[in-house]
C-alpha cells in the first residue's frame, strides 16, 4: 500500500509548496473567535480550570455522578487518547495507510457515548473512536479501516454502533430511519417501568457536514416523524482547511430553530457538561420529545488526517489557545482539587493506557492479509451467478501463479 503522503502531497524532492500561505487577517480573527468560550449559550459544568460551575438546568442530569464515575470518565478519555496517539504513530511508521485523529475531542465523545444506554443505537462518522470505545469496541477493531484490510470489524448489531461512514453526512438519514423504526416499534414514550424499554438513536457528524443536503433532510424527517434522534454535531472548528464560516453565518446549534426542535451548544471539552446535555437530549427523545440537536463546541487539535498539513491554513496560536482548554486536563485538575483521585489512580490509568497501546501495537503488527475472496464475498446476501463466475475465474487465474502473484 503506497503511503498516503505520496498521493496527497507532491514528492519531497519538489521542495516546499510555493504557497504555504500564512493565514489571512480574517483567519486570524476567526481563529481567535473560535477560542472564545463558544458564546453565552454554551453549557459548561467544568471550567477550563477544572472548577465545577453550577447549572440549574443541567445539574440534575449529573447529580448521580460519583467520584468513581468521574474517575471512569477520566480513564476513558486517557485511554482513548492514548489509542489515538498510538494509531497515529502506527501510521507514521507505515503500519496504517492513514489515521484520523480524535485528539481534542475526547470529552465530547466520552460524554456523549457514556450518556447512551446499551439499547440505544449510534451512527458514527469516521472520527468517532471515543464513541466506539463507549460501545465496548476495542480500538483494534477500528484498525482494519485504516490499514486497509476491512471496513471495521465490530459487529454493528451486537454493539449497536453502526459502521463508520465516510461520505459526509449521509449517515444522518440512515440514523433518522432507524429512529423512526424505534418509534414505529413502540420504543418511545413508554412511562413508568416501561421507560426501560424506551430507546433512542444518536448520530454523529461534523461542522462541515451541516452543509450537506442529507443532514437537512435528516432534520426534516426526524422532526416530521418525531423520531427519537439526537443529532450530535462535533464542531471542531474546521472541515479540513475550511473554518466554520465557510458553512454558516450562525452558531450551528441554532440551525435547529428552523425545524421546530431544540438545539443546544455544549462545551465539548467538558466531559461532564456533555454527559449532562446528552443525557437530557436522550431522555427527551426516549420520552417522545425528540429530535434534539447538540452542538459540541470543541477543537481538532491535530491534523484532519495524517495526510493533512494544517500549517497551510491555520495559526499555531489557535492550537495553543485551545490547549489551555484541554478536555482531559480539566477533569484531572478537578479530580485532584477535590481529592477524588490520588497518584495511585493516575498511575494505574497510565499503566492501563500503556497496556492498551502495547496491545494495539501488537495487534496491528500481527494483522494478516485479507484473503482475496473477501473482495467478492458478501457483496450480496443471496447468490449472484455473474459475480460468482467472476470470483471463480479470478481465483483460478490467481492460483495459476501458484500463489506467487
Amino acid at each position: 500500500m503506497s503511503s498516503p503522503e505520496t498521493w496527497t502531497h507532491p514528492e519531497p524532492r519538489e521542495g516546499p509548496a510555493a504557497t504555504a500561505a500564512a493565514p489571512t487577517a480574517e483567519q486570524v480573527i476567526a481563529g481567535l473567535r473560535a477560542t472564545s468560550e463558544g458564546g453565552p449559550e454554551l453549557v459548561q459544568l467544568l471550567t477550563p480550570e477544572g472548577e465545577r460551575v453550577p447549572n440549574p438546568e443541567f445539574d440534575r442530569y449529573v447529580a448521580d455522578v460519583t467520584a468513581e464515575d468521574l474517575r471512569n470518565l477520566y480513564r476513558d478519555m486517557v485511554l482513548v487518547r492514548r489509542a489515538d496517539r498510538e494509531a497515529n504513530a502506527l501510521q507514521r511508521q507505515g503500519q496504517l495507510g492513514i489515521w484520523v485523529p480524535l485528539l481534542g475531542q475526547e470529552a465530547a465523545q466520552i460524554g456523549a457515548g457514556r450518556a447512551m444506554r446499551p439499547t440505544d443505537m449510534a451512527f458514527p462518522s469516521y472520527r468517532e473512536h471515543g464513541i466506539a470505545w463507549t460501545r465496548g469496541i476495542h480500538p483494534k477493531e477500528l484498525l482494519g479501516i485504516f490499514r486497509g484490510t476491512d471496513n471495521g470489524s465490530w459487529d454493528s448489531n451486537a454493539t449497536r454502533f453502526h459502521p463508520y461512514c465516510i461520505v459526509i453526512g449521509n449517515q444522518v438519514l440512515n440514523a433518522a430511519g432507524y429512529a423512526m423504526g424505534q418509534r414505529f416499534e413502540g420504543r418511545v414514550g413508554n412511562s413508568g417501568d416501561a421507560d426501560d424499554t424506551n430507546e433512542a438513536t444518536m448520530v454523529f457528524f461534523g461542522d462541515g457536514a451541516t452543509s450537506q443536503g442529507d443532514v437537512h433532510e435528516g432534520f426534516v424527517w426526524a422532526a416530521v416523524y418525531d423520531a427519537p434522534l439526537v443529532f450530535f454535531c462535533q464542531n471542531n472548528q474546521w472541515a479540513i482547511s475550511e473554518p466554520t464560516e465557510r458553512q454558516t453565518r450562525l452558531p450551528l446549534y441554532q440551525r435547529a430553530r428552523g425545524y421546530g426542535f431544540p438545539g443546544i451548544r455544549v462545551d465539548g471539552n467538558d466531559v461532564l457538561a456533555t454527559l449532562a446535555v446528552t443525557r437530557w437530549a436522550l431522555d427527551e427523545c426516549r420520552h417522545g420529545n425528540g429530535p434534539v440537536l447538540i452542538e459540541a463546541f470543541t477543537y481538532r487539535m491535530d491534523a484532519h488526517t495524517t495526510t493533512d498539513d494544517p500549517t497551510r491554513y491555520r495559526l499555531s496560536d489557535e492550537l495553543e489557545a485551545w490547549k489551555l482548554k484541554d478536555p482531559i486536563e480539566r477533569l484531572r485538575v478537578n479530580l485532584v482539587r477535590h481529592e477524588n483521585a490520588d497518584q495511585a489512580f493516575f498511575d494505574s490509568v497510565q499503566a492501563d493506557a500503556d497496556a492498551l497501546a502495547a496491545e494495539l501495537r501488537d495487534y496491528c503488527f500481527n494483522m494478516g492479509e485479507p484473503p482475496i475472496e473477501q473482495m467478492f464475498n458478501n457483496v450480496y446476501a443471496e447468490p449472484n451467478p455473474v459475480l460468482d463466475a467472476q470470483r471463480d475465474d479470478f481465483l483460478a487465474y490467481h492460483a495459476s501463479f501458484g500463489g506467487e502473484h
Partner: protein
C-alpha cells in the same frame, strides 16, 4: 430469507383469496395486489414514498394500502428522495423491509448517493452482518405523453452499480409475483415498472395467485423462433412481441426473450438462443452508450463468438435527453425499428 414463504401471500382472504385465485388484472392492479400480499405476509414490510398513502400514489399502485395497514406501514413521506432511500436504509438496519416508491424515473437522482454509497455497499461493508432487504420501485420509460423527467430509463446506472440487483417486469403475472419476490429478497432490488402499461386494458392477464412463480432472477423465453433472437425487458417486451407477430407474416420467426433480471443478468437462455439463430437484436428505451444493451452485446459476442452470423444489433433510445412528448414516438424503439434491425442482421 427472513420473510415468510411466498406461497402464503395472498391466501388470507380479500382480493387474493383462494376462492378467487385467478383474476384478470392490469399490470398496475397486479402490482397493487402483490404489494398487499407482501404486507399481509410480513408485518415488517413498509411502503414509503411521496403521495403513496391517501392518494395511493400518482399511479394508484399503493391504492388502499394505507387505509388497510395504517400510517405507520404506508408512509406519505416528505418530498425528498434522498430522505426516502436514506431513511429506508436505517429502517432496514432496524429490521424492516421498506418498499420505496420513486414517483417517476427522473426523480431517482436526488437519491443516487444513498443508493450507490449506502444501499449498495452496506452488506459488503459489514461483511454480511447488515442486510439491505430494500426494494426501490421505479415507474419507468416513456410513451405516456408526459413532460420532462417523467419518461426516463435510468436502469443502466444501477446495473453498473455493484451491490444492487435490478429487475423489470413486463406483464401482470410477473408483476404480481416479482414484486413479492423482490420484497422477500435479502438484497436491495431496484424494481423497474413499465408505467405505460399500468392501466392498459389490453395488457390485462389472468393472474393465478395460487400458482408457483418462476424464480426472480431468471430470464424467460416468451416466444420461440429460428430466424433471429430478440431480447427486451420492461416496456420493450411488448414491442418485441409485436415485432415477432409482424415478422411472422413475412415468414420470419423471431425468438423473444424477456430479460426480467437486469442485474445479475441471466443470459444463459440468450446464449442458447443465439447459438441456434445466429442473430441477436437487443431492444431498450434507454440511451445506448454504456448501457445494459452494450453489456449484453459485449457478453454475447464473447460467449457466442462462433455462432454469430451478424453482430449483435441494438435498438435503443437515442443518446439525447428524453424528448418532448410529440417526439417520443421517434425516440422510442418501435416494431418497425426492431424489424429494420432484424433485416439488417439478416443482410449482414
Amino acid at each position: 430469507m427472513a420473510a415468510p414463504a411466498i406461497n402464503k401471500a395472498g391466501q388470507t382472504g380479500g382480493p387474493g383469496s383462494a376462492d378467487n385465485a385467478v383474476q384478470s388484472l392490469t399490470l398496475g392492479k397486479a402490482l397493487n395486489l402483490g404489494l398487499r400480499a407482501a404486507m399481509e405476509a410480513d408485518p415488517k414490510v413498509l411502503m414509503m414514498g411521496e403521495d403513496v398513502g391517501k392518494l395511493g400514489g400518482v399511479f394508484r399502485i399503493t391504492d388502499g394500502l394505507q387505509k388497510d395497514f395504517g400510517e405507520h406501514r404506508v408512509l406519505d413521506t416528505p418530498l425528498s428522495e434522498s430522505g426516502i432511500i436514506g431513511t429506508a436504509v436505517g429502517l432496514a438496519v432496524r429490521g424492516f423491509r421498506p418498499v420505496c416508491e420513486i414517483q417517476f424515473d427522473g426523480f431517482i437522482f436526488p437519491g443516487f448517493d444513498q443508493i450507490v454509497s449506502q444501499v449498495a455497499k452496506l452488506h459488503a461493508r459489514t461483511r454480511g452482518r447488515v442486510k439491505m432487504p430494500l426494494v426501490i420501485r421505479v415507474p419507468f420509460g416513456g410513451g405516456i405523453g408526459a413532460v420532462e423527467h417523467h419518461s426516463e430509463s435510468p436502469e443502466s446506472y444501477f446495473a453498473h452499480t455493484a451491490g444492487l440487483k435490478v429487475v423489470s417486469c413486463s406483464n401482470a403475472v410477473d408483476a404480481y409475483w416479482m414484486i413479492q419476490q423482490a420484497i422477500q429478497c435479502d438484497d436491495p432490488v431496484l424494481f423497474f415498472e413499465p408505467k405505460r402499461y399500468y392501466h392498459s386494458g389490453n395488457m390485462k392477464a389472468e393472474v393465478d395467485t395460487n400458482a408457483t412463480p418462476i424464480p426472480l432472477f431468471q430470464s424467460r423465453v416468451l416466444r420461440q423462433g429460428t430466424t433471429a433472437t430478440v431480447v427486451a425487458y420492461g416496456p420493450s417486451v411488448k414491442v418485441a412481441m409485436d415485432a415477432a407477430t409482424a415478422a411472422q407474416e413475412e415468414g420470419k420467426s423471431l425468438e423473444v426473450i424477456d430479460l426480467r433480471t437486469l442485474s445479475p443478468l441471466d443470459l444463459a437462455p440468450v446464449y442458447d438462443s443465439v447459438r441456434r439463430t445466429g442473430r441477436l437484436i437487443v431492444v431498450s428505451e434507454s440511451p445506448s452508450e454504456a448501457s445494459l444493451n452494450s453489456e449484453i452485446a459485449a457478453k454475447v459476442q464473447q460467449e457466442c463468438f462462433y455462432s454469430l452470423e451478424a453482430p449483435v444489433l441494438r435498438v435503443n433510445g437515442f443518446d439525447v435527453p428524453y424528448p418532448p412528448a410529440k417526439l417520443e414516438e421517434h425516440f422510442l424503439p418501435d416494431l418497425d425499428r426492431v424489424l429494420d434491425a432484424v433485416d439488417r442482421s439478416l443482410a449482414w
